[in-house]
Amino acid sequence: MIWQSVRRHPSLVIGLMAAAGFALLGLISLWWTPYPIEQINIARRFLGPMADHWLGTDHLGRDMLSLVMRGTLTSFVVAALGVLIGVGIGVPLGLAAVAWGGLVEWLVLRFSDLTFAFPAVIVAILIAALAGPGETNAIVAIGIFNIPVFARVARGGALAIATQDYVAAARLAGLGNAAIAARHLLPNIMSLLIVQGTIQLSLGILAEAGLSYIGLGTQPPATSLGLMLRDAQSLFLIHPSLSLVPGLTIVLIVIALNIAGDGLRDAMDPRLRHQGLSHGAG
């Protein structure tokens, strides 16, 4: 069933494989990079692509490929943890809004309106002002930004499920609101959440790059794709490749995740999946 729908959506395969490829590249950097990323060698700076340094070296003579690998890892980890925070807090909020309704729903909606009003950058500036810049702060800022997104998606999906007769049947069977949310609502909105998760992951990677670029995210000597852009910015006219390499990496990862997200939506949406026989026939 799953494999059939995967094969029918080539974009899903391409997107997932490309995203997984980048994630793997990042993971490898935990154990091995061509050169240690902290190794500064001023004598070998600004080298072009060559056999020793596939992507050249930066203004401190560090190997660009090693930097990109480690930077990809940072970006993925920050974005994924941000999504996890969003799912962990947002989804229960959204489900509670539907299961309890009334005042709870009003509170959840107003809370998510309030959080929506602050972009991730503002939250990050606030956190940086209080606790100083760093990776953790980027994670928290992206996580807070994700909470209302998942709360709304969960609420929207669950609202449609809550009108189904089997939810009424569960109520008749004496199940409480929490049990209904866990047994009936959550499993039936799972595919929706997975699709949204993929899209939020790509947005998280962009946000992480943005935060690092303005100096609120990852700090040296650690590296991230956004930080590499920031370092290369002043040299763009002289050595454009220093900006192009991390920039293109960000673009490719985001495109891969978006294609995967769209493909997942097509493959999982039951309205599209059963198109053909079961409807229209009669």
């Binding site: 008749l172 004496g174 039936n188 026939a281």
Partner: protein, 523 residues
């Protein structure tokens, strides 16, 4: 000269045949009916005449209209549909554009027919013909009732003076009274315009009342064809006989069960009301809607009481309060001697009452096995051991004539009729005394309706159940119920034994309901 000629038509989707080797001729001026159950391929056959089959369909065979094969070219096909074929669909709410007024949509149909220069004459004439007032022109689809929307659809189909009108289940989404008026309207128009009609329905009586020739479809094949009289008086195919037998409702409840009414009421309501407030922030702007208005009723143990009424009369709201899904705004409910107001029904009492839903497709969680769904109401009985639970589930599923092995399977593996049996099994798991049935068979195919009703009356005898049936189907009600309550606008307007009530109706609504019954098919 045949207007439509279909020869050896086969339609399949990814190798799965939906229509197989179908040949039929519809003569000019004829009223042809196709009867079939869901999945029999009757809609696809109709769509193939209009060249509207989904792209994924693989088609074999030929369809010709007025002697010429259907054009392959999409523009020519669209012109043919616009000028010579009119279509009316099942659900007018989705077939009409919600952002355009009825008038604009009818005008569009007139323009597409290429006679826009006579718009000023044609539009009022069309409206009059389908029975819409000139004032309806400026309204949007959501501001009209179901019957008026279907009338607007018919006006659009008639705009081009088509030779053929294809009506695909045009009345199945309407309630009994509206259904009758729309059928009469279609019949009148066909006679007046001498128009050919292709009428598709699962309702044998509607087809019998409207059509002169009938084809019966089953599993993609035309099993029988002939004039209405021959088919219904001397059916040849087994399937036709089965359908005819199923459409005749036999009385299933010979006598009210002997232990009956003297036991005292199991359920009583006193001046029960449910009021919905409208107008949001300004509650005084709109009068509150009284969905259920001071209803007092009592149901005796062992009785089978039916609640009938047109759609929107409040019968479902009443049922929801009785089973404890909604709170009463005013008044009292008493079940088994314990008063409650709706949702505060204690679990012990909840176990004594259950509800079977109308739609068997949405009443099971697609991600849970049947066993898990059926076991859910067991919570009400407090903690129980695994063996006890399994025994109860086995008992319930065997009571509805299905096997224990089905408990491991998922809802999508079952047909509509089987699912409704499973829904009844779920309702029986806690061994309730009162079962509320909300349109228990209206979503099912005709041939399985009879089985489900027989099952219900058998279960009633065996377990001494009390039923409250909610329906608008008078035939089903008179076959099942000991007593009928007629509801209109939230109030119960008439009650009595079904036989007497339907032969001598007193209230205007009861009279209208009885008059809307389609004639029995003579056997």
């Amino acid at each position: 000269m045949a207007l439509v000629e279909i020869e050896h038509l086969s339609i399949s989707f990814e190798g799965a045949p939906a229509v197989a080797d179908l040949s039929l001729r519809i003569e000019s001026g004829e009223r042809y009916g196709i009867i079939g159950e869901s999945g029999s391929g009757k809609s696809l056959t109709a769509l193939s005449i209009a060249g509207l089959l989904p792209e994924a369909a693989q088609v074999d065979g030929s369809v010709s209209f007025d002697g010429a094969p259907l054009p392959q070219d999409e523009t020519a096909l669209a012109r043919l549909r616009g000028k010579r074929i009119g279509m009316v669909f099942q659900e007018p709410m989705t077939a009409l554009n919600p952002l355009m007024t009825i008038g604009e949509q009818i005008e569009e149909a007139i323009t597409l027919a290429g006679i826009s220069e006579v718009m000023a004459v044609v539009l009022p004439k069309l409206l009059e013909e389908v029975g819409l007032a000139p004032g309806h022109v400026g309204r949007y689809p959501h501001q009209l009732s179901g019957g008026q929307r279907q009338r607007a659809m018919i006006a659009m189909a008639l705009a081009s003076q088509p030779e053929l009108m294809i009506a695909d289940e045009p009345t199945s989404a309407l309630d009994a009274i509206t259904q009758r008026t729309v059928l009469d309207l279609i019949s009148d128009i066909c006679r007046r315009r001498n128009m050919t009609l292709l009428f598709i329905s699962h309702d044998i009586r509607a087809v019998a009342a409207l059509c002169s020739r009938v084809g019966v479809m089953h599993a993609g094949r035309l099993v029988e064809e002939g004039s209405t009289d021959t088919i219904f008086n001397a059916p040849q195919a087994d399937y036709t006989r089965k359908l005819l037998a199923a459409s005749r409702m036999e009385r299933r409840q010979a006598t009210p069960s002997p232990s009956g009414p003297d036991k005292g009421p199991i359920l009583r309501t006193k001046q029960l009301s449910r009021v919905y407030r409208q107008g949001g922030l300004w509650p005084w702007r709109d009068a509150p809607v009284r969905a259920v208005d001071a209803v007092s009723l009592s149901i005796a143990t062992g009785e089978c009481v039916a609640l009938v009424g047109p759609s929107g009369c409040g019968k479902t709201t009443l049922a929801r309060m009785i089973v404890g899904l909604d709170d009463a705004s005013d008044g009292d409910l008493v079940f088994d001697g314990t008063p409650y107001r709706g949702r505060n029904l204690p679990p012990r009492l909840r176990a004594g009452m259950s509800l079977v839903f109308q739609d068997p497709f949405s009443s099971f969680d697609p991600r849970m096995t049947i066993g898990e769904s059926l076991g859910e109401p067991m919570h009400l009985l407090g903690p129980s051991s695994r063996e006890e639970r399994n025994a109860r589930l086995a008992e319930a599923i065997e009571a509805v004539g299905l096997s224990v092995s089905m408990l491991q399977r998922f809802p999508h593996e079952f047909s509509g009729g089987q699912r409704q049996r499973l829904a009844i099994a779920r309702a029986l798991v806690t061994r309730p005394r009162l079962v509320v049935l909300d349109e228990p068979v209206s979503a099912l195919d005709v041939s399985v309706r009879g089985d489900v009703l027989s099952l219900l009356s058998q279960l009633q005898q065996e377990h001494g159940l009390t039923y409250l049936i909610i329906s608008h189907d008078l035939d089903m009600v008179s076959a099942m119920a000991n007593r009928v309550l007629v509801m209109e606008k939230g109030r119960i307007v008439e009650e009595g034994e079904p036989k007497r009530l339907f032969s001598q109706p007193q209230h205007a609504l009861t009279k209208a309901l009885v008059a809307a019954r389609l004639p029995e098919i003579a056997a």
